[in-house]
């Protein structure tokens, strides 16, 4: 099934001009089928360039990207096929809405796949359900809806292609806390039901810590950390030094240790922090 492997992937923008800049350097990573991974790094760290390689929107300057063992840039056809298998939701995806009705817009992807009418209909309804887009909105113009609704319609437009790998670039950027929570819930739900591999780029560390099984940290075009949330956030200090934020609970744990409170490693959620603090308190009691 859908396993993504990058082999020594490098990308140079505007090669051979005065504006030449290396965006990715020697990235070798393997993401197994069904994993929920988060990609973090600050703007310009190469994370956006990286994800655009995974569905052949960008071609590597050096190295390869393999989907199920096959080079996705082998020829025109594999490049086209990979776009169906690997769905990419860009930042602020609501800017891509263009159809007269919500229904037609969600159907744009499946129609490009030349599917039958019934198949398209089924997929549109399924995708709308996943993203909490009510069927009452189907005949409305997407342009007159609220920001959060537009965002979910745009995500539905990608989910309707039933990708085996779903990649989302900062899906909650610019939304209020309620809107963010809803999007994360939609993604979690889609992943659970479809078994798809999910890759999410996000600055919202508390949500990443809660949802992802694995965190890949980019800095200056290279992968600098890669592991479980517990492993990555136990290096909270290093993350903060390269200008990244960490879950508030992890930041508090660092500050508490600096104050001499002996907390164990690997604390990055509120629940663990509270439990650890109560344990310290108990420990001091006896």
């Amino acid at each position: 099934m859908a396993e993504i492997i990058t082999e020594k992937l490098s990308h140079v923008y505007s090669a051979g001009t005065p504006f030449e800049s290396t965006a990715l350097h020697d990235v070798s990573i393997s993401i197994p089928q069904g994993q929920f991974a988060a990609v973090i790094g600050h703007t310009g760290s190469g994370k956006s360039t990286f994800i655009q390689h995974l569905n052949a929107l960008l071609q590597p300057t050096e190295g390869r990207v393999l989907l199920d063992g096959q080079d996705i840039n082998k020829d025109k056809y594999t490049r086209r096929d990979v776009k169906r298998k690997v769905g990419l939701v860009f930042q602020y995806p609501e800017y891509q809405l263009f159809e007269e009705t919500v229904y037609k817009d969600i159907a744009f992807g499946p129609s490009n796949m030349k599917l039958g009418k019934e198949e398209i209909d089924e997929r549109v309804r399924e995708a709308a359900a996943f993203t909490g887009v009510s069927e009452e909105l189907f005949e409305r113009s997407p342009l007159e809806l609220s920001g959060g609704q537009k965002r979910r319609i745009a995500i539905a437009g990608v989910i309707a292609m039933r990708p085996e790998v779903l990649i989302l670039d900062e899906p909650t950027a610019g939304l209020d806390p309620a809107g963010c929570a809803q999007i994360f819930e939609n993604i979690r739900c889609y992943r659970e039901k479809s078994g798809a591999t999910v890759l999410i780029v996000s600055h919202s560390m508390d949500d990443v810590a809660r949802l992802a099984e694995r965190i890949i940290v980019f800095d200056r075009g290279a992968v600098v950390m890669d592991g479980t949330p517990a492993a990555v956030f136990s290096r909270a200090k290093e993350l903060m030094e390269i200008g990244l934020s960490v879950p508030k609970a992890a930041e508090l744990a660092v500050a508490l240790r600096d104050c001499g409170v002996g907390l164990p490693e690997g604390i990055f959620t509120h629940e663990r922090l509270l439990a650890a603090l109560l344990q310290v308190r108990e420990g001091r009691k006896c």
Partner: protein
């Protein structure tokens, strides 16, 4: 990739040509165009070519970047040349041929004229920042304000357009990628299919451009914009001795071209 397209075409630099007042440069280009159209003979064209080359050397603009500017016009240049070759009467190159010696000469001259015209105007845009250019235009055209021509508004619109070109190019790029990720195909199919395929790009682009325009208007109003009335400029344009010298030289050049034409050369 769209982001590789250079628009605005300004090459920053610090040569004499760069430092001339934009008004001087705009006037010089006008003089240059009038002078160019006086040329009738090889001597005339030779003189204009020489002046152009000197200006290029002074501004340190590479001939290769000049050529880049001419390239998109290549089709028109070749077409004009061909028409002139075939439709000029005179002595045939060989008896019975339609191609005449006069035709060839005319074709070469017409090509030169277009290339020189483009090079001259590009010299202006290559060495003058868009802001300086619109500022210069606004001042030069300000007498028209008396005739109720909205000069300030027009130049403001020009500079806004220039400001938003890079933003809109980046945006087009992004929308294209997003639609490609949804399986849109811009490269294959018939002409009509391809035109249709542009809709998913154009609609979002227009929607966002209107939204930008709306927000920009509010932001400008918030910063006390209320038209050109009572507006001042941080960067005052000042005519320096070199500007007057350049203008005098330009006029001398024009006079020389007119004299050449009068004596039939």
């Amino acid at each position: 990739m769209l982001r590789d397209v250079t628009l605005g075409q300004y090459f920053p630099g610090n040569t004499v040509v760069h430092r001339l007042d934009p008004r001087t440069k705009i006037l010089l280009v006008v003089i240059y165009i009038v002078a160019l159209f006086q040329a009738q003979s090889w001597i005339g064209y030779g003189l204009v070519t020489l002046v152009t080359l000197v200006c290029m050397a002074l501004s340190k603009i590479k001939p290769s970047s000049m050529f880049k500017g001419v390239k998109p016009m290549l089709f028109i240049i070749v077409l004009t040349a061909l028409l002139n070759i075939f439709y000029t009467e005179g002595t045939p190159v060989r008896p019975g041929w339609i191609i005449t010696w006069e035709g060839i000469a005319r074709a070469v001259q017409m090509m030169l004229r277009i290339i020189l015209l483009i090079s001259g105007t590009f010299l202006l845009t290559y060495t003058t920042s868009p802001i300086a250019l619109t500022d210069g235009l606004e001042i030069l055209l300000s007498p028209l304000k008396k005739l109720k021509v909205p000069v300030h508004e027009m130049t403001m619109m020009m500079s806004m357009a220039l400001r938003f070109i890079p933003t809109l190019i980046a945006e087009t790029d992004k929308i294209m990628s997003a639609q490609k990720a949804r399986g849109a195909d811009f490269e294959t199919g018939s002409l009509i299919q391809r035109a249709k395929a542009l809709l998913p790009i154009l609609v979002p682009l227009f929607v966002s451009a209107f939204k930008r325009a709306d927000e920009l208007a509010v932001a400008m109003e918030s910063r006390c914009y209320h038209g050109g009335e009572g507006r001042t400029r941080m960067k005052q344009l000042v005519m320096r001795p070199r500007d007057y010298i350049a203008l005098v030289l330009g006029l001398l050049f024009l006079a020389a071209m007119i004299v050449l034409k009068r004596v039939g050369l």
